[in-house]
């Protein structure tokens, strides 16, 4: 089985619904540790992708580039910039191709993780979205069957969120809360759990 731009469109539609649903949840999760805009960032970004969706080309690279630009255009928040960076990395990897194999997913996620790490200069284990992506890439590795892959990716994001919960935040606005953040979910990881669930249809 392969993935095409129509799968991308369907995933975007599910993402829009999920981000609309989690708007207040993500804003207030971000509000306790930061500036309370994470729901805004994700709902605007996903809606901008949805607006671009009908016009997306079959070239998956070009399509993902347009998605990345939808994010940069609508937001300058850290998360929006990181999402755009991750999408851009996937776009580069798939440039000129109209389909992707399920077996490539793990590598695509890992590539996004690395590009985002280069941009944001955070370390793995620092309780950020990078840790979600790292767990997702590892869980996806070797899987080529849709249900198993989707389950593994969605589950990995959720587990990473719980696994890092008891560490202190080390980057971004949450960092200065230091020890107080122990026991609290990182808003960006919380968001990635919702994103992964929505994209894989496990939302």
């Amino acid at each position: 089985m392969t993935l095409t731009v129509s799968d991308l469109r369907a995933a975007i539609d599910r993402l829009v619904v999920a981000m609309e649903r989690d708007f207040d949840l993500l804003n207030s999760a971000d509000g306790t540790l930061g500036d309370g805009d994470l729901g805004v960032t994700l709902s605007r970004g996903s809606k901008a992708m949805q607006e671009a969706a009908p016009g997306l080309p079959d070239d998956l690279g070009q399509a993902l580039l347009a998605c990345a630009q939808a994010f940069t255009r609508t937001s300058g928040s850290s998360y929006g910039t990181l999402m755009a960076t991750g999408l851009m990395s996937m776009a580069k990897a798939l440039k000129g191709r109209t389909s992707a194999e399920l077996g490539e997913i793990a590598g695509l996620i890992a590539g996004a993780r690395d590009a985002m790490q280069a941009r944001g200069k955070a370390e793995l284990g620092g309780k950020t979205v990078l840790d979600s992506l790292d767990a997702m890439a590892q869980a996806a590795a070797g899987l080529t069957e849709l249900t198993a892959l989707a389950d593994a990716v969605a589950q990995a994001a959720a587990s990473a969120q719980v696994a890092l919960r008891d560490k202190p935040a080390t980057v971004g606005r949450a960092r200065i809360f230091g020890e107080k953040t122990i026991g609290m979910d990182d808003p960006g990881m919380l968001a990635m759990t919702a994103i992964a669930a929505a994209i894989t249809g496990r939302g």
């Binding site: 930061g34 500036d35 309370g36 960092r175």
Partner: protein, 333 residues
């Protein structure tokens, strides 16, 4: 606190439209997304450009300080959100007069990532860029991790001083050195009394009880060093001065400027009440106060609270601080 707005999604675009309509002698909107503001009359060819950028909701910071002797251009994000890299690139391009551009902004993750990206973009235009990041908020990290501190109102001193250096015709390396010196000379601390509301979020970002305040809270509601009962003006001023002077001890004979800044709703009446103590403390330490700034220089919309910024001056910084500048919010003659 209630807001006067239309569609929250249009808040920033409408604000910029009105700002440029009210002050066409100062501001001009540029860029494809109209999220960069440039001087109405560009600086002369060969002048070093200075660009800042950051989230909206802090007027006069950032955009308000575009003007002669200050910034050349500014990229404007949504409320409390970084502008995009493209918007920053717009600002950098319009600010460049062939002598390169200093990126001068606050230490926030989103802004850093995007200004870095913007630098990659304008590389194609052969514009040389340098960077000075403000990290003046003493409450946000201990001195040992000073580089992790948030950038707050110290920005205003850095804009003024670097702007004067650029206006005086210095080259990019000199302007950057002076800007870094100004940034290093600033220490700030704030105290918040009430939240503000991000238009698109629609409700206050944080909550503080009617009889509470938070010392050291950030300008977006980031946490401070303690939250407790609201103290008296004099107690607040004493503690804020304690924190600043502990972080940057001043000796008798030193010269410094001090800013007593309202975060928005706190009226000037209350700033003047605080200033009595500020002046007494600095004079008791034998410090000469140069050009004190009391007013709304860096805000968070309708947030109630204050910040103090101490800027230690040597002869070079003092000269640039006192040089003329002009914009819709501040002018020095």
């Amino acid at each position: 606190m209630k807001k006067i707005l239309n569609n929250p999604a249009d808040y920033v675009d409408e604000m910029l439209e009105g700002l440029c309509a009210a002050h066409p002698e100062f501001y001009r909107l540029v860029g494809e997304t109209k999220r960069a503001v440039a001087r109405a009359t560009p600086g002369p060819k060969g002048k070093v450009g200075i660009v800042s950028g950051g989230g909206s909701g802090h007027l006069p910071v950032f955009t308000g300080y575009v003007g002669p002797g200050l910034l050349d251009a500014c990229a404007i994000g949504d409320v409390f959100a970084s502008p995009s890299a493209e918007q920053m690139a717009d600002a950098i391009r319009v600010a460049d007069q062939g002598a390169g551009v200093l990126r001068l902004y606050g230490n926030y993750g989103g802004d850093i990532m995007n200004f870095d990206m913007a630098g990659d973009l304008v590389d194609f235009d052969d514009i040389r860029c340098t960077t000075v990041v403000l990290a003046d908020d003493v409450a946000s990290a201990p001195p040992t991790e000073a580089a992790k501190r948030r950038g707050v109102a110290g920005m205003v001193y850095a804009f003024k001083i670097a702007g004067a250096a650029a206006e005086a015709g210095h080259d990019l390396d000199t302007v950057t050195r002076v800007a870094q010196k100004a940034a290093d000379a600033c220490r700030s601390v704030g105290a918040a009394l009430s939240s503000c509301t991000v238009p698109q979020a629609g409700k206050p970002t944080f909550h503080i009880a009617e009889d509470e305040m938070e010392m050291g809270m950030g300008i977006h509601g980031e946490p401070g060093v303690w939250r407790d009962k609201l103290k008296t003006a004099d107690e607040i001023a004493e503690e804020m001065m304690d924190r600043l002077l502990a972080d940057m001890p001043l000796a008798a004979g030193d010269r410094a400027s001090i800013m007593v800044n309202s975060l928005g709703a706190t009226p000037p009446e209350e700033l003047y009440i605080l200033y009595r103590v500020v002046k007494r403390r600095l004079e008791a330490a034998g410090v000469t106060i140069v050009m004190p700034l009391v007013g709304r220089y860096a805000t968070s919309m309708e947030m109630a609270g204050v910040s103090f910024t101490l800027c230690k001056l040597d002869a070079e910084l003092e000269g640039f601080l006192k040089a003329p500048c002009d914009c819709a919010f501040w002018s020095v003659k």
